[in-house]
């Protein structure tokens, strides 16, 4: 049987090149199809990676703890005590690599010229740095030194709108738990730049202890965030933290914190698969056509082989192997050309022409395509699996030919 199979493989290979023009055209079609599948998947993955990272970066922490009411009503009233010893231990356990507690309340910031509604972040600069949540770039002045730093750091866009600048004073206004106006004057010690203008307009950074004192909330915080530095872990490590936090806290991994991100990731994977299947379907007509014609041309020959004692199973195998050769060659060329075209682009594609359009989706001005093995494997599986399925019909027809009738054709 082994000998028979190797004969079949040689026969299939030779058959493939009998009509080399047809094979080459089909090969070109398969290559283009597979290249397109992988290229599109890499672009989409690059896009979603960036959206997820940008969104998580503005306030990262794949796992976050809040007062149960906080997410619906982000007020100072819905705060929680500073983490207990047990919770601190759970937050520091791997895979978590960093965590931070912050105060996050709506506020108004007023310069002598204008005022704006913002989100006031009372943070611990060291811990937030470990978490990777600080603004990418402080373009003027410095960032906050520690939790007792009395200065504030504003986004460049907000500073422009307020007509304020480095060294000038602004007034921060919010409410304390009893709904009295809580305010303090502060000097602008730094101005930051963010990837998205929306971030610059909204977030104002202030020292954690100073903010807690201004709001009169002791050592309470609004939010505790922890990261494992890999959002694809899906924050599944949140259970022990939830257990350590006990009741009275809402502990959520990021897919639940931002349902848009989560659904977008799922839509992306689904869309990649749909795209691949659609491209394959367009290809399959050509593939089936090629095989049907190949079998048709060889009816007499197949009849002869059967008359000489070749089993129908081997004839079926012969057509299938021919199809597999064609698909594998196409897969190889498609994958290689996709790799060759995407690799040079991974340093980034400038899409600043549509920057404001994509900013809605939390994307920056550069798109970084991401070629991952998963997409290459997915396209290979789709093409080989469905390809074999599509080849079954012509192969089965060839195998079920009646030798006498086949031999008497023409």
């Amino acid at each position: 049987m082994g000998g028979a199979m190797s004969t079949v493989m040689v026969l299939a290979w030779r058959n493939l090149w009998r009509n080399y023009r047809r094979t080459l055209i089909m090969l070109a079609a398969i290559t283009v199809g597979i290249w397109a599948m992988i290229f599109m998947a890499a672009m989409m993955r690059g896009m979603t990676d960036q959206i997820v990272e940008n969104t998580l970066n503005t306030l990262p922490g794949e796992v976050q703890l809040h007062h149960p009411e906080y997410r619906r009503d982000p007020s100072v009233v819905n705060r929680m005590p500073a983490p207990s010893a047990a919770l601190r231990e759970a937050l520091a356990a791997p895979p978590a690599v960093a965590w931070a507690a912050r105060v996050r309340v709506p506020a108004v910031v007023a310069s002598e010229r204008d005022s704006r509604g913002v989100i006031l972040l009372g943070i611990d600069p060291q811990k937030e740095a470990a978490l990777g949540s600080l603004p990418e770039e402080v373009i003027e002045g410095r960032f906050l030194a520690d939790i007792d730093d009395r200065g504030v750091v504003l986004g460049a866009s907000l500073a422009r709108r307020l007509e304020t600048g480095l060294g000038k004073r602004v007034v921060l206004m919010s409410q304390d738990p009893d709904n009295n106006v809580a305010d303090r004057g502060a000097r602008v010690v730094g101005i930051y730049k963010a990837r998205l203008q929306g971030t610059e307009d909204v977030f104002v950074y202030s020292g954690l202890a100073v903010t807690q004192a201004m709001l009169g909330i002791g050592s309470d915080v609004s939010e505790i965030a922890a990261t494992a530095d890999d959002y694809r872990l899906m924050g599944d490590w949140y259970q022990p933290i939830a257990a350590a936090a006990g009741p009275g806290f809402e502990v959520l991994p990021w897919p639940q914190l931002d349902s848009f991100l989560d659904s977008m990731l799922r839509v992306q994977d689904g869309f990649s698969l749909v795209f691949m299947v659609v491209i394959f379907l367009a290809l399959s007509f050509g593939l089936v056509n090629t095989l049907v014609m190949a079998v048709f041309e060889r009816i007499r020959e197949i009849g002869l082989m059967q008359a000489l004692g070749m089993r129908p199973g081997l004839i079926l195998a012969q057509v299938l192997v021919e199809s597999i050769y064609l698909l594998c060659l196409g897969l190889l060329l498609g994958n290689v050309s996709a790799w060759l075209t995407i690799k040079p682009l991974e340093s980034g594609i400038d899409i600043s022409a549509v920057a404001q359009g994509v900013e809605k989706m939390a994307m920056g001005t550069t798109l970084y395509p991401a070629l991952v093995v998963q997409d290459m494997v997915m396209s290979t599986v789709v093409v080989l699996g469905l390809g074999l399925l599509a080849s079954l019909l012509p192969a089965w027809r060839a195998a079920s030919l009646d030798p006498i009738r086949a031999l008497s054709r023409h």
């Binding site: 055209i25 204008d114 704006r116 509604g117 848009f260 404001q356």
Partner: protein
């Protein structure tokens, strides 16, 4: 029927399975293109309508620089009068003046920094959908003037401030001249748009009251316009620009300037869509190329005979071209028919795919998509496939000119 046509038609059905498979490839691609392009155009129309219809309008008249800086001082003088003049202009379907300020809003329990919009209660419903989305209470009374302290707010804002109908809100902010502005307003309506971002931030008060509280005099920050014909926006902008030409501090902005993300979002979406369409069309062209090349190659002997009988290669090439034309026409007809039926059905039944709600919310799209049933959307894809199929037949047809009668007749 001409002999060449008859020949072409018969040749086409010599291998009926092959022809049908190729036609099926075309029909598949055509139906897909018709569906996707209609869906795309439909979603763009909705995106534009929904984005501009909610608040920003088609055109706005503002102070130069206000769009970027949004400073209190960058005002439109006599805003309501200007809106009145523009409203009567031909081609303008609605106009309303607005003023915008930031303030700290406090209820008994809570305080939030919000953006307050002063609107003309009688005209605002014509330029914005928010007044129509009041779910509790009512919108500002149409004749609300200086003495009317009415306010409508978004539903999430109402929740966050813990206020309901009839409750009072206190505002602290600064007026146009930098003075301290404080006032109390009574909630008469709660707006629920379904978009969290809007429901969390919207607060509207009568313009006259707004002007008094924030020491604006008769000034506003923008005059919002809707036009009768969306495609005529550029002409309208030019006309209005003329009218305010004597006031150098004013600028007329079209929707593209007001919502720069919108056109770019469409552009970026188009780019990725065209990539997919291009790939599909190329694959179908390959399919046609393969079929026609094969059908030419297997007829080498036959063509040799015809050549030696005195038929010119040009005529043979026309024959092959004609075969492709017939095949592509069948593909075009079925594609347009099936695709058209599908789109026509979906254009009133709607279309949904899971996960779309969340995406839709970001782009002001409803939960169901309604593809646009238009001739352009339906014909564009199939016609391109048709042209590419004809193009693909060029190589097999041109090969015929190199054919030598005698070797061709001897070919296996």
């Amino acid at each position: 029927m001409n002999v060449t046509w008859l020949l072409a038609w018969r040749n086409l059905w010599r291998h009926s399975r092959r022809t049908w498979l190729t036609v099926a490839a075309m029909v598949f691609c055509n139906v897909l293109l018709v569906f996707l392009i209609s869906l795309q155009l439909g979603s763009y129309t909705m995106m534009i309508d929904n984005t501009l219809g909610t608040f920003s309008g088609h055109i706005q008249v503002q102070h130069v620089g206000y769009l970027d800086q949004q400073k209190m001082r960058q005002t439109v003088p006599a805003a309501a009068e200007l809106a009145q003049t523009l409203r009567e202009q031909q081609g303008v379907s609605a106009a309303s003046a607005r003023g915008i300020a930031f303030a700290l809003a406090s209820s008994e329990e809570r305080s939030f920094g919000i953006q307050i919009v002063g609107v003309e209660p009688a005209y605002e419903p014509e330029v914005s959908t928010f007044p129509g989305l009041v779910k509790q209470g009512r919108f500002l009374a149409p004749d609300a003037g200086v003495d009317s302290d009415e306010i409508v707010i978004g539903s999430i804002l109402a929740d966050n401030l813990k206020v309901g109908l009839g409750d009072e809100l206190t505002f602290l902010g600064s007026g146009r001249d930098g003075s301290f502005a404080a006032a109390v307003a009574t909630v008469v309506g709660v707006i629920d748009t379904g978009f969290d971002e809007v429901d969390r931030s919207i607060a509207e008060v009568p313009l006259a009251w707004f002007q008094q509280v924030f020491t604006m005099g008769n000034q506003g920050h923008s005059v919002v316009l809707r036009v009768d014909d969306f495609d005529a926006v550029p002409q309208q902008v030019a006309v209005i620009q003329q009218q305010v030409a004597d006031r150098a501090e004013l600028v007329v902005l079209d929707w593209d300037a007001l919502q720069p993300g919108l056109r770019q979002a469409i552009t970026s979406d188009m780019a990725s869509a065209w990539f997919m369409y291009g790939v599909l069309i190329i694959l179908v062209a390959f399919s046609v190329l393969n079929t026609q090349l094969m059908s030419v190659l297997e007829r080498t002997r036959e063509f040799g005979v015809m050549l030696s009988l005195g038929m010119g290669p040009g005529k043979l090439a026309r024959l092959v071209g004609l075969e492709t034309l017939m095949m592509s026409t069948i593909g075009l007809a079925f594609g347009v028919l099936l695709g058209g039926l599908l789109v026509w059905y979906l254009s009133f039944a709607g279309f949904y795919f899971p996960g779309m709600e969340e995406m839709g919310k970001r782009f002001n799209l409803p939960e169901r998509m309604y593809p646009e049933f238009s001739l352009l959307a339906i014909l564009w894809g199939p016609t391109t496939v048709f042209l590419f199929a004809l193009l693909a037949a060029l190589y097999p047809a041109l090969r015929l000119f190199r054919l030598q009668p005698v070797p061709a007749m001897r070919a296996a």
